[in-house]
């Protein structure tokens, strides 16, 4: 195992070298390339000042060197062991402990390391929140689709997943912001950023002015969730359907009421509640217990929360945590739905393959109930290919962050990447490539290790 790990880590080096080389070649061979000229271009300066700035940039970043020299210099700076230079930029020796330096950004004039230290955690936060959502929902739908192979749930969920997968992230983002963060429609969520300025000097946890309100909120949430969970498991399909449909009809009415006067119309008053009611009725009618329960619990939380807010008397401070979460809702939705759809389809394939396998037949012949066959035998085996997929999910999520961060004006690594290439910021582009590549490769490695742990057949000896 150790040799394997070492081998993999060593193999990462040429790959990382290749990645940065590819990106550097692209930059260097482009018309204009990376010269001081391209950096000053467009600034309204008199020729003399321009020349001076060019000379300054050249001195600072060595932009007048030939491209291969620039790359080697950068490489030397980044690698933890390498040549050292004195004040005059002359070779002074070779050191194994000089430490790596990602350089300074052209545009921000700050060390790249600082910039990355600021931005990377934000992108990681977005992705870390998305992945569990993606996996949970995908497993929920995918497993069911496989069990119901060829029946209506499978066919319809297959279509819906494919459609979801086809929705461009920017469309989803623009529509979500447009309808749910804009004061023309429902101004429920913030339009941009990760926190409100006013919250920055508030406490971390939310704070209520009266204890009564907090108690009410807690009580309502617990009571209503418990009630709805009970309803979800109770017999009588018709009652369930009617109840949930009624709840969502009311929620729909409340939603339309939230619109500004100008936006309300008779057709909306009818359309939205009806649509909600139909969806709820379908959810209540499904035989898939887990999904039904999920639907009821969500309804319960919503109803409980809304009622308690309605009955609350005192004031409350949002606090940093709730504010942050509140800002994250739309971006995370935007980032997750595509991965969820793709993963759900993969889960279906994987579970189906295992359901039809010989060992599942053995388990049935043993006298196991179908549900035990599914959850005990098939499920664990089906997860194996999904581990590998998790690794490839990471780069796609990183790519997704680029779009989502741009739309929601979140100062993360994705947005930094767009800015970096737009301003031809050599150090920044190379560093982001390096970090992104490293994260991706580590993701692959982690997936392989997890795979070896989960599957006794695989050992890296």
């Amino acid at each position: 195992m150790l040799t394997y790990l070492l081998r993999r880590l060593l193999l990462m080096l040429p790959t990382l070298l290749g990645i940065t080389l590819v990106v550097f070649v692209v930059m260097a061979s482009s018309p204009g390339g990376i010269s001081a000229k391209s950096l000053v271009e467009g600034q309204n300066l008199d020729p003399e000042a321009k020349q001076e700035i060019e000379a300054y940039y050249n001195r600072l970043y060595g932009l007048d060197n030939p491209p291969w020299m620039q790359y080697l210099r950068w490489l030397n700076n980044v690698s933890p062991a390498g040549f050292t230079f004195d004040e005059e930029n002359n070779l002074s020796g070779f050191s194994f402990s000089k430490g790596s330096d990602l350089g300074r950004s052209f545009r921000y004039g700050r060390p790249v390391t600082d910039l990355l230290a600021e931005r990377v955690p934000i992108t990681v936060l977005l992705n870390v929140l998305s992945i569990p959502v993606v996996y949970l929902l995908a497993l929920l739908v995918g497993v069911r689709a496989a069990v119901e192979r060829g029946r209506s749930f499978d066919v319809s969920s297959g279509m819906v997943m494919l459609a979801l997968w086809s929705v461009p992230t920017m469309l989803a983002g623009v529509l979500l912001i447009g309808f749910f963060a804009n004061d023309q429609y429902w101004h429920w969520f913030p339009t941009a950023g990760l926190s409100d300025r006013q919250v920055l000097d508030q406490v971390f946890m939310p704070h209520w002015s009266s204890l009564w309100d907090l108690g009410l909120l807690f009580l309502m949430l617990v009571l209503s969730t418990a009630l709805f969970l009970f309803l979800a498991n109770m017999g009588g399909k018709m009652i369930r359907m009617a109840l949930l449909a009624l709840c969502w009809f009311a929620l729909g009415l409340a939603m339309v009421q939230q619109l500004p006067e100008s936006g309300q119309s008779v057709s909306l008053w009818i359309l939205i509640p009806t649509l909600f009611a139909l969806l709820a009725a379908w959810l209540a009618s499904t035989d898939y217990r887990l999904m039904r329960q999920l639907g009821f619990v969500v309804t319960g939380v919503l109803v409980g929360g809304l009622l308690s807010v309605h009955w609350m008397q005192g004031e409350w401070l949002r606090g940093f945590l709730v504010d942050r979460l509140w800002h994250l809702v739309l971006p995370v939705v935007c980032l997750s739905y595509g991965g969820f759809a793709g993963l759900a389809k993969l889960t279906r394939t994987s579970v189906l393959e295992n359901l039809l396998s010989d060992y599942a037949r053995t388990a049935r012949a043993k006298g196991l109930a179908e549900s035990s066959v599914l959850w005990k035998h098939v499920f664990r085996n089906s997860l194996l290919p999904l581990i590998t997929v998790a690794a490839s999910l990471l780069p796609s999520l990183l790519a997704g962050s680029v779009i989502v961060e741009s739309i929601f004006s979140i100062e993360g690594m994705g947005k930094l990447a767009v800015e970096a290439v737009q301003t031809r910021d050599r150090e920044l582009v190379l560093s982001i490539t390096l970090i992104g590549g490293m994260l991706t490769l580590l993701g692959y490695l982690l997936a392989d290790i997890l795979y070896a742990l989960a599957d006794p057949r695989v050992s890296y000896e």
Binding site: P395, V421, T433
Partner: protein, 389 residues
């Protein structure tokens, strides 16, 4: 397997099974509509009348203003129709088609020279002055870059909000018709999807094929290269390329092509590694067949299944890539594209749903269509896990 004898080649069977599925049919229908709209865009949405009579003299201004690109699309369409009737090998058809397009492109740019100065409103103004006996306009009587300057009060308009002007999908900030822009932008979606995927596929097949057949050192180096390209998020690589190389449609096609070949290479490699062990390839080798025959007659056609499936998904993601780049403000400068229109929607301080929903919807439907075709194709090729099974 006691089915009645059918004398159909493998691909014919696969295609028939693919398009028996309604998903694939819907997808194909949408793509066909898109193709028609793209080819006949100048006749569907143009400020220039299709036909007018000025003092008894018939004129067709739209023909005068036809661009070389319009001509290429029209000739390509006719050539496609004719070639689909010709019964010959697919490769022959493809070569003839590409040759025809190339020749037409040269001729069109040499011979077709529309007026340099374009005044969109001239015919409307002339019509209002009563200069013409009668005028026939295109169904959408606005060119994509016709800002209707003569109206004075143009700007953002919701669909059908102004009784005089029929903007079915509304207008953008400058007053240009959204539907007209979308119709003309459909070509970009169509062109980019096919050309970029074509480039990626050719690269992927060559590199993957070499890796799969020769294995050993070639394979190792190739896989490193694939890994390098896969470890950088494609979007980031695209961004870098586009930001540094400028924004032309052709550069964009090439760039999307060369950033998405690793997937195909991986598929082809895996297929070739699998096929090399298959008995019929061994038999071909044992019969002393020359290498090109083994590679292109026995292995490639049998390995094309997964590649074609990947390609139809690839077309979808190429379209998405273009839309994303345009959305991020790195797209084409002079021509409207769906992604760029979506970008316009967020530029305004107010949320104008028609500017987001229509172009965004078009991207969605196109991507969905290709995904539907891809999925049906996969089910037809690998019936083991299909829905009907």
């Amino acid at each position: 397997m006691s089915s009645r004898p059918q004398r159909q080649s493998y691909w014919r069977r696969i295609l028939r099974q693919t398009f028996l599925r309604w998903g694939a049919r819907l997808g194909l229908f949408w793509v066909a509509v898109l193709a028609l709209v793209g080819v006949f865009a100048p006749f569907l949405a143009s400020s220039f009348p299709l036909l007018l009579s000025e003092g008894g003299e018939l004129k067709s201004p739209v023909l005068d203003y036809l661009q070389p690109v319009d001509v290429i699309f029209l000739v390509g369409f006719v050539a496609f129709l004719l070639l689909s009737l010709w019964r010959t090998l697919f490769w022959h058809k493809l070569l003839v088609f590409l040759g025809l397009i190339g020749v037409t492109a040269l001729l069109a740019y040499a011979l077709v020279s529309p007026p340099k100065l374009v005044i969109y409103e001239q015919y409307r103004v002339a019509e209002a002055q009563g200069n013409y006996d009668w005028v026939v306009y295109a169904p959408v009587p606005y060119s994509p870059k016709d800002y209707q300057r003569e109206q004075g009060d143009t700007g953002l308009e919701a669909p059908l909000s102004n009784g005089d002007r029929n903007h079915w999908f509304g207008t953008e900030q400058n007053g240009a018709d959204v539907l007209s822009r979308m119709i003309h932008a459909s070509r970009i979606a169509l062109g980019i999807g096919f050309v970029a995927t074509g480039i990626a596929m050719v690269l992927g097949i060559i590199i993957g094929g070499l890796m799969g057949y020769f294995s050993g050192v070639v394979d190792m180096l190739g896989m490193r290269l694939v890994e390098i390209f896969e470890a950088v998020p494609t979007l980031f690589l695209l961004l870098t390329f586009v930001a540094f190389f400028g924004r032309s449609l052709y550069i964009m096609m090439v760039i999307i092509g060369i950033t998405s070949w690793p997937g195909y290479a991986r598929y082809v490699r895996a297929e070739f590694l699998r096929l090399r062990k298959q008995d019929f390839v061994q038999a071909a080798e044992a019969a002393g067949l020359p290498l090109p025959s083994i590679l292109f007659r026995h292995m490639l056609p049998n390995g094309m299944g997964p590649v074609l499936v990947a390609a139809s998904f690839g077309v979808a993601s190429a379209i998405l890539a273009e839309a994303t780049l345009s959305f991020l403000g790195l797209g084409l400068v002079d021509d409207p594209s769906w992604g760029e229109m979506l970008n316009q929607a967020v530029q305004s301080s107010r949320f104008n749903w028609w500017m987001a929903a229509f172009p965004g919807g078009a991207i969605f439907f196109t991507v969905f269509a290709y995904n539907l075709i891809g999925e049906s194709l996969r089910d037809a090729i690998d019936p083991y896990l299909s829905k009907s099974g």
